[in-house]
Symmetry: C2
Subunit: 207 residues, 2 copies
C-alpha cells in the first residue's frame, strides 16, 4: 500500500513538472494528455489516476506559479521597506515596487502568468480553497501598505481596494506588454507604472 | 458604372450591419462568411468583392463601436464639465466620469468591447490609419483633463500618461466585469473605479 502511494506521488510530481515545462515554454493551451504521458513515460490512462482532468493539473502548476509570484512580491516589499523612511513613504514605495514586481513576473514568466489569469475552469467546477487562499495571501502584500496610507479604512473595504489597485496594475501590465496602445520598451513601461501607482498612493494618502 | 458602385456600397452596408448584429449578440469569434452571405442574401464569393477578408469586416464594425464609445465619453465629459467648479475640480470629475463611461460601454456592449480589444489582425496585417486616428481621438478625451492637472507636462508625456491611465481603468473594468477576483455588483464596481481614479487624479494634481 505504502509503495503504491509513493508511486502515485512520484507520478503526480512528474506530471506537474512536465506540465509546468509545457506551460512555461508554450502556454497552457498547448497541454495535451498524450504528450504528457509520453514525456513522463506512463500510460495515457495513468494520468487520470492522479488528476481528475487536465484542468486539475493546470491548477497544480498554477499553485507553483502563485508561490513564485509570492516570492517575487515578498522580495520587492522587503527591499522597499529596507530603503527606510516613515511608514507612509515606505507604503508608497512598496506599492510601486509590488506593481513593478508583478510586471517582472508577467514579462519573465509569460506562460505562467497567462495560465494564472487566462485559464478558465470547465463550467460548474469551482476553484479549490487552496487556490483562493493563495490569492488572498498575494493581496495581503497590497493590504499592508494600504493600511499605512489609510489607517481608518475598515478591513473589508481595504480588501476591496487592494483588489481594485491590483486590477489597475494588471491593466497596465497587460496592455503594456501587449504593446497594442503604445510600444514601450520595458524600462519605460516600468516608469509609467511607477508614475501612475505613485499618483494613486499620494492620492490615497491625501484622502 | 455608377449603378455597380451603388450596388457594391449597398452590399457593403448590409454586410457591416449583419456582422454588427452577430458581434453584438454572439461576439466576433462567431462571425462566419457563409452565415453572413445567407443573412444578406448574397453569394459567398460576393463578400470578398467588398471586403478582402472577414478581418476587414470586423474592423469596419469596430470603427462604428469606436464612434459609439466616443459619443458616450463625450457625453460624460460634457456632463462633468457642466457640474461646474474650477478647472482642476472639473478635470478630476472628468477622469472619473470617463472611466465609468468606459465601464458602461463594456458592460452594455460586451460584444463590441471584446471585438475592440480582443480581436487580433492576421499576422503581417497592420491596423488601418483610420483606426489609429479613432484611437487617438478617444485618448484626447483623457488628455484634456490631464492637461488641467499637470499643465507643465510635455504633450508627448501627457499622451503616454493618458494611455497608462486608460490601461489602469481597462484593468479594473476587465477584472471587475469578469468577477474573477471579487464578485461586485455594477454600482459597487463603479464606486471602486471612482475611488481609484479620484486618488490618481489627486495624486497627479499634487505631483
Amino acid at each position: 500500500m505504502a509503495k503504491a502511494k509513493a508511486r502515485r506521488e512520484e507520478l503526480r510530481e512528474k506530471l506537474i513538472e512536465a506540465a509546468e515545462k509545457t506551460i512555461v515554454a508554450q502556454g497552457h493551451a498547448a497541454l495535451k494528455a498524450r504528450a504528457l504521458a509520453e514525456e513522463v513515460g506512463c500510460a495515457l490512462g495513468a494520468i487520470y489516476t492522479v488528476f481528475p482532468d487536465l484542468a486539475a493539473l493546470i491548477l497544480a502548476v498554477n499553485a507553483r506559479s502563485f508561490a513564485l509570484l509570492g516570492t517575487i512580491l515578498s522580495r520587492e516589499a522587503e527591499a522597499a521597506a529596507a530603503a527606510g523612511g516613515g511608514p507612509r513613504a515606505i507604503a508608497n514605495r512598496t506599492l510601486i515596487a509590488l506593481a513593478n514586481g508583478y510586471l517582472d513576473f508577467a514579462a519573465n514568466h509569460g506562460g505562467r502568468w497567462h495560465a494564472l489569469f487566462d485559464f478558465r475552469l470547465p463550467d460548474g467546477q469551482e476553484l479549490p480553497a487552496e487556490h483562493l487562499r493563495q490569492q488572498e495571501a498575494l493581496f495581503q502584500h497590497l493590504e499592508t501598505p494600504l493600511a499605512a496610507l489609510q489607517p481608518a479604512l475598515p478591513p473589508s473595504e481595504r480588501a476591496l481596494l487592494a483588489r481594485s489597485l491590483f486590477s489597475a496594475a494588471h491593466g497596465m501590465v497587460l496592455l503594456g506588454l501587449e504593446g497594442k496602445l503604445v510600444q514601450l520598451p520595458l524600462p519605460y513601461l516600468r516608469e509609467q507604472i511607477a508614475l501612475v501607482v505613485s499618483a494613486m498612493g499620494r492620492g490615497l494618502e491625501s484622502a
